[in-house]
Amino acid sequence: MTPLTPTSSDRAGPAATVDLAPLRRAARPRALEFAFWLLPVAAWFLFPENLALLTQIAITAIFALSLDLVLGYAGIVTLGHAAFFGVGAYAAGMLSAKLGIGDPLLGLVFAAAVSALAGAITSPFVLRGTGLTRLMVTIGIGMMLFEAANKANDFTGGVDGLQGIEMTPLLGLWSFDLWGKTAYVYAVAVLFVVFLVARHVVGSPFGLSLRAIHMNAARMPALGVSVDARLTAAWIAAAAIAGIAGALLTQTTQFVSIDVLGFGRSAEILLILILGGAGRLYGALVGAIVFVTLHHLLADVDPEYWQLWIGLVLIGIVLFARNGLMGVVDPFERLLARKETKR
């Protein structure tokens, strides 16, 4: 009983019959993506009076991207993600209000670092359980942080919010204005950078392993992967990004309110991501755009009962558009992919 052909993986040279092009191509940006990133530029000209709202969308999008990393890719369902958003928001706020350091970029870096630390501290607790248990631990951590911020009234400003934050001009050139121009450009630029990073991460071997863990975590150790180590890394990275989003909110509004840590924010960002479609990055962006805009319009049209409409929209999406809004493009994408393969 001896083998008839040489060993598989020891054979040298490329394989003749397997086309590697589709995998190679996946890394390249597509035309539609360029078109998408023209949207924020177009918005600048089309809605000059709504820059504050647009800034809010950009910040929400960053937060949603962060959640997409842990939920959409790594598969950790969390209802406590506001914890890191809030830690970032307070970190940036304290840096200015308590230490008098008002440089926005420095604040971002500081907030990202502090949030990453918070992520590192919480990860063993979160990764311990699964399913409902894990979900409840994330809620518990979020709630405890909220209560802690409320208790530390004198330090955080409690429910009245942290006052006295002043931002120095961005790069020493542009100060934050009432129209929100600087804030908008700043937020969109940060969003773009975060998106690029996220896009690289999810397309890398690390990102592939996260998706694989999501699909079948039990198999991963048999491939030589420490699941906990990967999830911890993803958790910390997502915490840092959430912290950046929180810091941006602090810097563009120049105060911190305690609701940055609230359960409502955690629940809302989860809704936004699922609405847009989890596990595809653009779902996070589209979800943020649609949800915040919808919320804004409905609250304007019908301030008393907008919740009813939001609720109906959510139910409708689940019943008729299962994979979120981005799920709608799936059939087209597959069609496109098939054409490309044939070519």
């Binding site: 709504n50 009432l178 309110s257 940055v260 049209v301 008393e304």
Partner: protein, 392 residues
């Protein structure tokens, strides 16, 4: 996007033909009202609307000779990032002349910052955190501060022979403010705080706290909770444990017997002694007309609360200020004119402090009683010209 922006309530001048000699109407004044119109606190927005609508109804829809346009913005609950954004939009998009409303303190802080930057006066019609007016020079308050209504309660208690008090407040900023103000006034007048506790806002079950209070045997317990869910929950627990029978008096600030919630609170509130700046049962001619007027403009039999009266007074204050500036709506001039303004409100005489832009008013001590089958706050003692103690 602007076509979606709904101007919910537009009150234009009803210029009579008899006044044809007058030149064309001056430009309308735009007021951005930021308040809760949805969610659990939607009643606040409605009360503001009622107060504003009544004042405009009584004054031919004009403010300082200008027609008025109200732009309502929904910021439900404490959501300062939203409030800030909305305020920015009101400035750059709707180009409002004044901010008004502001039910929650965090929102008022956020809007105060915008007001300062845009030099647009903001009239706080409820938010009661003391430092709001200190933070921004473009903020004037016509409502009250937590300290302002807590302090007289302490002085009244001492005056009536209560020297040992246990305090329980909601564990958040205003709760802490109330606790501090009460303790300061109480101990300064010779009383002693035998125990104090801050209960979490989310806590619906007060039995443990009440048991603790009962075991401590103070002469009275003073509590401060935001109006709504918590005061009735506390009162129920107090009744169930028999605090009254154990000889422990229950005193509180007026949030406990907020007119909007008093009927729902029910008989557990009977006999409760509270301190506040407005009761809809305030016995004055001005208030009688006010209550009737609210019923008239809304067509409903709802009690106006301190929100409605502050909104009404906020309009009166702006009108008074515009009378001083001769109709000039320039922010700095209006702010200057607001300082030291005093007039008669349905709640009694009020004044906007010239130095702090905060309100100076009478604080009443009331007892909850049943009058004609309805629970009302009956005023029986008062402290005149109370300033915000946190600013002294």
């Amino acid at each position: 996007m602007s076509k979606f922006s709904l101007i919910a309530c537009t009150v234009l001048a009803m210029s009579g033909f008899g006044l044809a000699a007058e030149a064309a109407d001056p430009a309308p004044i735009k007021i951005g009202v930021i308040a809760s119109y949805s969610g659990p606190y939607a009643d606040y927005g409605r009360q503001f609307d009622d107060g504003i609508a009544l004042w405009l109804d009584e004054h031919g829809g004009k403010l300082g000779g200008h027609p008025v346009e109200i732009v309502k913005k929904d910021v439900p609950g404490a959501a300062p990032d939203l409030a800030k954004r909305v305020a920015q939009e009101l400035v750059v998009k709707d180009k409002v002349n004044f901010f008004a409303g502001l039910d929650f303190s965090p929102n008022a802080y956020a809007v105060g910052a915008v007001a300062k930057e845009a030099k647009i006066p903001a009239i706080v019609m409820n938010a009661s955190s003391s430092a709001i007016t200190t933070q921004s020079p473009y903020v004037a308050r016509v409502s009250f501060t937590v300290q302002q209504v807590s302090d007289p309660m302490a002085r009244w208690a001492v005056k009536n022979g209560i020297t040992k008090v246990y305090t329980i407040v909601a564990d958040y900023g205003p709760g802490a403010d109330s606790e501090t103000a009460f303790e300061k006034a109480f101990t300064a007048n010779g009383g002693a705080i035998v125990g104090k506790v801050r209960a979490p806002l989310s806590s619906p079950d007060f039995s443990a706290y009440v048991q603790r209070i009962k075991d401590e045997k103070p002469q009275a317990v003073f509590f401060f909770f935001p109006s709504g869910v918590l005061p009735p929950a506390f009162l129920k627990a107090a009744k169930e444990r028999g605090l009254e029978e154990a000889g422990i008096k229950v005193i509180a600030t007026g949030e406990a017997t907020d007119d909007s919630y008093l009927e729902a609170t029910g008989d557990v509130a009977l006999g409760l002694i509270t301190s506040h700046h407005y009761s809809y049962a305030h016995p004055s001619e001005k208030n009688r007309k006010f209550v009737e007027g609210i019923a008239r403009v809304t067509g409903k039999k709802l009690r106006p609360s301190y929100f409605a009266v502050a909104a009404y007074d906020g309009m009166a204050a702006l009108d008074g200020a515009l009378a001083k500036t001769g109709g000039d709506v320039d922010g700095a001039k209006v702010m200057e004119a607001l300082k030291g303004l005093s007039f008669e409100s349905p709640r009694g005489p009020i004044e906007i402090d010239a130095a702090t832009r905060d309100i100076v008013q009478t604080v009443y001590i009331r007892k909850t009683e049943k009058v004609n089958g309805e629970l009302v706050n009956v005023e029986f003692d008062q402290f005149d010209k109370v300033k915000d103690p946190a600013k002294q």
